[in-house]
């Protein structure tokens, strides 16, 4: 705590900035409860009678199925990402192997190819393997895309572990696996949670690949949201309703993760 007494002005300023910053989110949520005509009114309406037509339409279209696919693809890919990335990041940081710079560079270079260039080849490969419209295939693809990010993030967090801690463990005779599982992971839980959350969010909101590679059975939430865009009509309210619903699971996950993020990110606690 840097200040002895709470600085009220600073707190107020903080809240003002926060409210201004998230106004667009608040506005979208509000629009989800308006009728289409109210959502597109000039001047913008802050007072209006609520209209749940948007939410009804979303429910009618069967949002649950798409949410479930998103859950499978996002959680599935995040689990795979963490299972593969934690050991890998460990091998590139705490006990760094020789090739680590080249490996790290290679991993991040897999993100250099723009999606639009790689997506048709990907589509054709999946088609020939019979994996189109398969939510697990989507999860695997998301995992491959997010692993480089996770490894880079986790590596930075792992490198923050004080050397004394790992040395002490080594002197005690801990082997690699034990060191990883019993020491490194518990200490960096906040970092792991942060990386997992970010990977989950990217998988949840991914749109381009999901649209092209899935069909009736595996379609996730982002293409579902896009399907509300109407080229010849009103859609702002229903889209806002759908977007609000689509963000709720992520907010829940974020809220749960937040508890780990706030507490003990400070590694000074271990000393």
């Amino acid at each position: 705590m840097r200040h002895q007494r709470p600085n009220v002005l600073l707190t107020i300023a903080t809240w003002v900035l926060v409210i201004i910053f998230i106004f667009p989110v608040f506005w979208t949520i509000l629009n989800g409860f308006k009728s289409e005509f109210d959502a597109t009114a000039n001047p913008p309406k802050f007072l209006f009678s609520p209209d749940l037509a948007g939410y009804e339409l979303v429910a009618q279209r069967g949002m649950l199925a798409y949410l479930w696919n998103s859950v499978v693809a996002s959680i599935g890919s995040t689990v795979v990402v963490m299972l593969l990335s934690i050991p890998a990041a460990y091998a590139l940081s705490v006990r760094e192997i020789k090739q680590s710079q080249n490996t790290l560079f290679f991993l991040i270079s897999t993100r250099f190819l723009p999606v639009a260039a790689g997506i048709l080849p990907l589509y054709l490969i999946l088609k020939n393997l019979g994996f189109l419209d398969n939510v697990w295939a989507l999860a695997i693809i998301y995992a491959a895309i997010n692993i480089p990010l996770a490894i880079w993030m986790l590596r930075s967090f792992f490198m923050e572990i004080p050397k004394e801690v790992t040395e002490a463990a080594r002197i005690d005779g801990a082997g690699i696996i034990r060191e990883l599982v019993r020491i490194v992971v518990p200490i960096t839980i906040p970092g792991i949670v942060a990386a997992a959350l970010i990977c989950f969010i990217f998988a949840w909101n991914e749109y381009f690949i999901a649209t092209l590679v899935t069909g009736a059975t595996a379609k996730t939430t982002p293409p579902f949201l896009a399907s509300f865009v109407d080229g010849r009509g009103f859609f702002l309210a229903v889209l806002s309703s759908a977007a609000t619903l689509a963000a709720l699971p992520v907010v829940v996950v974020g809220w749960l993760a937040q508890k780990h993020l706030v507490r003990g990110l400070s590694l000074g606690a271990i000393k």
């Binding site: 599982v181 069909g215 109407d230 009509g233």
Partner: protein, 456 residues
């Protein structure tokens, strides 16, 4: 000293492997299981028809009413894959070009139909539409022509549109003006400038760059000013005097009396604007009328509808149809054909009118709909002019000079999506004042000529 692996690592690995194995066995679409083709008589074998389509009003209604069809045809399950228009184009094109066969019915426009039919991608529908109940001649002729290739019909329309000029009667009359039934562009510009005020803009027109967005409007303008994309020898005319005149006129009109942020404005934005009474006039698709005349519209009854403005031609409405086609890769041809003929039949129109709203009957596809007394009453404000306009457009020669393709606001060549898009972006930069109109059109000429050369 033996290292013991953490037990949870092993469990996770086993779980993951199991999931992978089960996924590769059980994943995938249903079409693998329903590989049998059925005829419509034996409704015993279950069939799933996957329809890829856009999210517009008529399709939303069709999705709702499909329950009726399924009730009449037990064993047939119709699954709608609703997508945003751009995504639909990408998905369906990728699917058809690679032969992936995910869809039994696809929604494509009059631009794609002749080209895809030429590529051999679509099923010839002529055998399926020959029945007297279907009455294929009832489909408005220009629309029917647009969906045919070498005399055979390859798609059936569920939505057709042309373009008209609409105006807010209150605003126009309050300014002491009138809008003639067959206005010229110059007259329209006059009215727009006179009626413009702090609160109201003169006219809303599309400015969002795109071959089907700003250039749907612009191509018709260019044609009625006497220009065109290509002449009979496939020589591009993008920087011709007439084309330049049309673009300059368009730019001036937008600057003096158009929307404040033209490059972000397309159909939807103008729709919002008209509904809010922010614009006095609007030149766009005929379907806008149905939207603004719906029961809860704040401007119901306040709109007037006249012909698309002209200069040198007799009429300048465009022609677009969303239609249902059957890819050759489908395994359920008969079932799919049965569905799409139902969805575009007279009885379907009747069903929409009776169950939902006569205003929501799919516009612009069948002449008989316009003669239906219920429809005539509900759509009295705009039905007559819609029918007049749609029947009188000439996709063979919409402009002053003959052209080597069939189509009004687009050129029916595969390169046009790209060419139209690039030229639209150049014109957009000109409208924003970043480059001159001449620079834009000269560059556009190069791009268009490359495509023109490929046709010779």
């Amino acid at each position: 000293m033996r290292q013991r692996k953490a037990p949870w690592l092993g469990a996770a690995a086993a779980l993951f492997t199991a999931a992978l194995v089960s996924a590769s066995c059980g994943g995938g679409t249903d079409t693998a299981e329903e590989a049998e083709t059925t005829t419509t008589e034996t409704a015993a074998t279950p069939v799933t028809i996957t329809v890829a389509t856009v999210n517009n009003g008529q399709m939303k209604d069709m999705e709702q009413l499909t329950a009726e069809y399924e009730a009449q045809n037990p064993g047939v399950d119709v699954v709608f894959q609703i997508m945003e228009e751009g995504d639909l184009r990408s998905s369906v094109t990728a699917d058809i070009a690679s032969g992936a066969g995910q869809y039994d019915v696809v929604t494509i426009g009059s631009y794609e139909v002749p080209q895809w039919a030429a590529n051999g991608w679509l099923t010839d529908l002529t055998p399926y539409v020959g029945t007297p109940e279907y009455d294929v001649d009832d489909i408005i002729k220009p629309v029917r022509d647009a969906l045919s290739y070498e005399g055979q019909l390859y798609a059936v329309p569920f939505y057709g549109e042309s373009s008209i000029l609409m105006y807010n009667k209150e605003i126009i009359e309050a300014a002491g003006l009138t809008v003639p039934n067959k206005p010229t562009w110059q007259e329209v510009a006059e009215i727009a400038k006179k009626v413009k005020s702090d609160k109201v803009n003169g006219i809303c027109m599309r400015g969002k760059p795109g071959w089907g967005e700003s250039f749907a409007v612009l191509t018709t303008m260019v044609q009625t000013f006497g220009g065109n994309w290509y002449d009979m020898d496939w020589k591009a005319g993008v920087n011709s005097p007439e084309f330049t005149q049309a673009i300059t006129f368009y730019k001036d009109l937008l600057e003096t009396a158009g929307p404040k942020d033209p490059l972000s404005y397309s159909f939807n934005e103008c729709l919002n604007g008209m509904k809010n009474g922010d614009f006095a006039m609007w030149y766009d698709a005929t379907s806008l009328a149905g939207l603004l005349e719906s029961d809860d519209s704040p401007v119901k009854g306040k709109m007037g509808y006249v012909y698309a403005p002209v200069v040198k031609t007799k009429n300048s409405g465009w022609l677009w149809a969303w239609s249902l086609a059957i890819p050759k890769t489908t395994k359920n041809v008969d079932a799919a054909a049965d569905f799409i003929t139902w969805a575009t039949s007279k009885e379907y129109h009747q069903l929409v009118g009776e169950t939902l709203d006569w205003n929501r009957v799919p516009p612009g596809s069948r002449t008989s709909t316009f003669e239906n007394p219920n429809y005539k009453e509900a759509a009295a404000a705009y039905a007559p002019i819609t029918l007049e306009v749609m029947s009188s457009v000439n996709p063979n020669q919409p402009g002053v000079n003959p052209q080597p393709w069939v189509g009004i606001q687009y050129v029916s060549i595969p390169e046009f999506q790209d060419v139209g898009n690039q030229v639209a972006q150049l014109v957009a930069d000109a409208v924003a004042g970043r480059i001159t109109v001449k620079e834009a059109l000269d560059k556009g000429q190069e791009i268009a000529q490359k495509a023109g050369d490929a046709q010779k």
